[in-house]
Symmetry: C2
Subunit: 270 residues, 2 copies
């Protein structure tokens, strides 16, 4: 079991309740990473569902939780042959901090030789990445910043999209990077939950700074990923009235589109 698998465990207590423990390794300053919280929640949902894979997750980020014990409550709203729809709520001290609808279904295992299953069509990637050797990590965070999250994953950025670090933002919302877990672990749906929210806010490239709280994030799991590093391609369409959207496309090492997310977030203050 990897550290990530361990830190996202959900232990069934009864038909509608799972115990989880929010791990200090996934902190970002005073907050806990939203993708990590979704991964923990999805462990409970998938365990409870007759279907194996979270194909659609719509998450509402309500409050910043504390480290340590929390509860996931699951409520199966509908279960059919093809899909199950679950409402999941993460709670501390009887107060919800994350709630979501999750549709589970069963996807085909990754198989590079598989024949298409019915009508198949895929758009080209929204941006072309330079070779991984030309990509760059962010500088190591200062210990006092409490960015423990950064040690859990390796992000290697398309250099212009971190130009904001040195006062050269590209002038539009965008961010692109290769992603893998710091310890050896092939991507699975729970790693993808982390990955869809792993990039710095796209608005940094448009000149914004500060923590940008996610209000709503919906992501779709479209295929089980091939082993190897992922590519994260993020952009946004509109920054206005203090709000922005962030779209993330996740491609696996075989170049296949494996996840899509969009979130609505608030611009940071200062």
């Amino acid at each position: 079991m990897t550290k990530f698998d361990d830190a996202t465990q959900a232990i069934r207590v009864d038909d509608t309740t799972y115990d989880v423990c929010l791990d200090a390794a996934y902190t970002m300053g005073a907050a806990i990473h939203g993708g990590y919280l979704m991964a923990v929640m999805l462990r409970a949902v998938v365990d409870d569902s007759p279907h194996e894979h979270p194909v659609a997750t719509s998450a509402q980020f309500l409050r910043v939780p504390k480290l340590g014990p929390a509860t996931v409550r699951v409520d199966r709203i509908k279960s059919g042959r093809t899909t199950t729809v679950t409402r999941a709520t993460m709670v501390q001290d009887d107060t919800p901090f994350l709630t979501a609808f999750v549709t589970t279904a069963t996807l085909r295992p990754y198989d590079p030789g598989a024949e298409p299953d019915g009508l198949t069509w895929e758009a080209p990637a929204r941006a072309t990445m330079p070779p991984i050797e030309e990509c760059r990590a962010l500088p190591a965070p200062k210990p006092e910043s409490n960015m423990a999250l950064n040690a859990q994953m390796e992000l290697l950025f398309d250099p212009p999209t971190i130009g904001w670090l040195t006062g050269e933002p590209t002038g539009r919302p965008e961010s692109r990077a290769y992603f893998r877990m710091a310890e050896p672990q092939d991507p699975d749906p729970f790693v993808l939950a982390l990955a869809v929210d792993a990039l710095p806010p796209v608005v940094f490239s448009a000149g914004a700074r500060g923590w940008a709280p996610t209000v709503e994030l919906t992501w779709y799991l479209r295929a089980l990923p091939a082993p190897g590093p992922l590519v994260l391609i993020a952009d946004g369409d509109l920054i206005a009235e203090g709000w922005f959207d962030e779209n993330v496309e996740v491609r696996d090492s075989a170049g296949r589109l494996v996840a899509q997310s969009r979130q609505l977030a608030r611009l940071g203050r200062g």
Copy 2:
């Protein structure tokens, strides 16, 4: 009051309950239009919220409802200074057929002379529409098809994106049209709820046919629209394993991005 306003009325019964009536004008064969159902639900949510505008709606389509009376149950999960998060569920005979999380907030009124409010950036439209005079309506549906919905709105399509009608699909998932209500009515957030789900499924242009049931649809209201017709620009990134995504960008008559939606749906059978 327009017919649409009347058909989407929600009457408050008590703190958590609204009575609504699903109108035969919004049927599509044996189904009722999903965007219309969202508009009805949002009337109740907005009436109940201290905030005026549904900025994020994540809807789970569970079952096909019947025409006539239904109930909307609202549960305010969180209410703060900037946003309120509500769970809304539409029910008939104690069985939910649509459930959603809705974030409400307050946006600025449309004002062509307004100064930007903080950092502002907008992507160009994802496709350029031909002039409205060069666009074409779908042929009138046969009365026995029970497509009453088509009489409520006027859609004028970018011709190649309805080439599938005459055996000439473009070969990729796409659909684009000018949209307005059949009776005089300027767009508002409820009309936008209808509009984001108003196009034929994008997969028709990729060679698919048949009813394509929406599983999950999330849409963001990004700005209050200018009066006049809307432009709907839809595409998809992946068709695989019987699933497809559909992205819709809605621009107002001033060319501003006013709504964004993405849905995950199943390919029709036959």
